[in-house]
């Protein structure tokens, strides 16, 4: 019998909580070092959840999408409307955001996921644009161009009231991020996760092992939609505003850029890429508010050319260079 433990995941032990712990430590350290920037760090937490959904959909299953904001925005608006019209209790709002995000993904996925490549990419953009325009026109419900403001949020679990400094918002989103990461890591290590990677590699091969490819794609896209919906709901609750930009193309594209910088093939890529992108943009924009996009563009080019695995691949790349040097 060959050594079973010598083989990499999937179907490997995931009881090890190191990566989740690293997220907690990194988040708390950042909050302690920059107590005045909790709003910024909270935004990073939320975008990290959003980008995790992309890491699942693009990185694992290979679904080319530039429309993930559709599910983020749907989660955002539905959580906001839930809070305004039903109850300001936040956890139920997140659940609603997840359900609506999943529903939007499932409904649009049925149409989109039979196509591939450029067609799929364009359809994903179109779905988000249709939702955006719908939200724009349905002003009586969504506030149209003005969006929804002053969204009420009651204390989490009846105890932790959202405070002016944003400490509760920070802790709330960090907890959500860790929980989502915990779950997705296990999904990736499951038989379902391996099947998704197989589909990304070769759909013809997967049909020849008996895999119902479309059903798999629809399932993973729906799951990704739920995660994006959670991110959207958290955004609505912590900022207490929702606008049309939550459905915008820019958010979808930024998510993809952040994932690319961090590393597409791994969930951790999302967790590395988002803070890297946000911090670089923050610094670059404070130096020159007009040309920060140039810095991001250059960063993206450098990443794609020299770090195809993104920041996640940096240690491996470094080791490879050290090994090459002595020759």
């Amino acid at each position: 019998m060959a050594d079973l433990t010598a083989v990499q995941p999937p179907l490997a032990r995931t009881r090890w909580l190191g990566p989740e712990l690293a997220v907690v430590v990194a988040g708390v350290t950042a909050a302690l070092l920059f107590p005045d920037d909790l709003g910024f760090i909270t935004r990073i937490n939320i975008l990290a959840i959003f980008t995790l959904s992309l890491a699942l959909v693009i990185g694992q299953a290979g679904i080319a999408t530039l429309g993930q904001a559709a599910m983020f925005g749907a989660g955002s608006y539905s959580a906001a409307l839930w809070a305004i019209h039903i109850t300001p209790e936040p956890l139920s709002g997140v659940l609603i955001g997840a359900l609506v995000g999943a529903s939007v993904a499932a409904a649009s996925g049925v149409l989109m996921l039979r196509t591939r490549g450029l067609t799929l990419l364009m359809l994903s953009v179109a779905v988000a644009q249709v939702l955006l325009e719908t939200a724009n026109k349905a002003g009586s419900v969504t506030g149209g161009d003005d969006g929804l403001a002053d969204i009420p949020v009651s204390p989490i679990l009846g105890v932790f009231a959202f405070d002016f400094r944003g400490q509760v918002g920070f802790g709330y989103t960090l907890a959500a991020l860790v929980l989502v990461y915990f779950c997705l890591r296990r999904v990736v290590a499951s038989p379902f996760g391996l099947t998704c990677r197989g589909i990304r590699a070769d759909q013809v091969r997967m049909r020849a092992v008996g895999a119902p490819v479309f059903r798999h794609l629809l399932s993973v896209y729906t799951l990704g939609g739920a995660v994006a919906g959670i991110a959207g709901a958290l955004s609505a609750q912590t900022t207490q505003v929702v606008g049309l930009n939550s459905l915008g193309f820019e958010l979808s594209a930024e998510g993809l850029v952040m994932l690319t910088i961090g590393g597409v093939g791994h969930l951790a890529g999302a967790l590395l890429g988002v803070p890297a992108f946000m911090i670089i943009r923050h610094v670059a924009a404070s130096i020159n508010p007009y040309h920060w996009l140039l810095v991001i563009g250059l960063l993206l080019i450098v990443t794609i050319l020299f770090l195809p695995q993104g920041l996640y691949g940096l240690p491996e790349k470094g080791r490879a260079m050290v090994r090459r040097r002595p020759k």
């Binding site: 019998m1 060959a2 079973l4 010598a6 083989v7 990499q8 999937p10 179907l11 490997a12 032990r13 995931t14 296990r186 999904v187 290590a189 499951s190 038989p191 379902f192 996760g193 391996l194 099947t195 990677r197 197989g198 590699a201 070769d202 013809v204 091969r205 997967m206 049909r207 020849a208 092992v209 008996g210 895999a211 119902p212 490819v213 059903r215 798999h216 399932s219 799951l223």
Partner: protein
Amino acid sequence: MTERLRLTGVTKSFGGLSVAADINLSLSAGDRTALIGPNGAGKTTLVNLISGALQPSAGDIHLDGLRVNRLDQAARTRAGIARTFQVSRLCRDLTVIENVLLPLIQRHRAAFRMWPASASDHAIRAEAVACLEPLGLAAVAGRRVSELAYGEQRLVEIAIAIALKPRVLLLDEPAAGVPESESGMILDVLARLPRELPILLIEHDMDLVFRFARRVIVLVAGAILFEGTPAEVAANQTIRDIYLGRDGHGAASL
């Protein structure tokens, strides 16, 4: 001997071009049948028609007495029709064992389980190792497929097919692209496949065909020209003229 696969009048045409014309074919338990024919005769097309990658324009395909025409490729695979590819189609970024886990996950109906379950996962993994061992692939189980020699990749194709525990196995040129020094290794593996499993082998290497097959079907321009034992095929002057080449003993010139 129980019949497992039966094709009756299977026909496929693309516009006016007929690529399979009224094919009748039957495979029973234990069959070792080779399908030969010149390039473009429609051999791979026939594999595509049986496996469901293509739908026939007319005719019926039965597996274990059940009509499978309407099933798509994934469903036919689950029903028991396994195929390999002439040019390796493996998930190159995945490891060898992961490639073999993929069919096992499907067969164990675990593909929609989104959470690890250590007992079940270990059982599936142990089965994957058991599929790799007889092919001598256990030692490279953790390697990426892209790092493997092409001959080993061909073996992974066969390991995947075996992992499906098929009722019928279609091998599309399992030795294609493999250097001659390694093709003996492929033949060894073919000789050790489960005896009762019916196999349809497409192969250009006449040595391999004559050593492996007990029945040979000659396909020319989408139609079956001749069916018989290897000795009958070798003795048939028409086939020698059409297929085996001008010099009369084929393998080298093909």
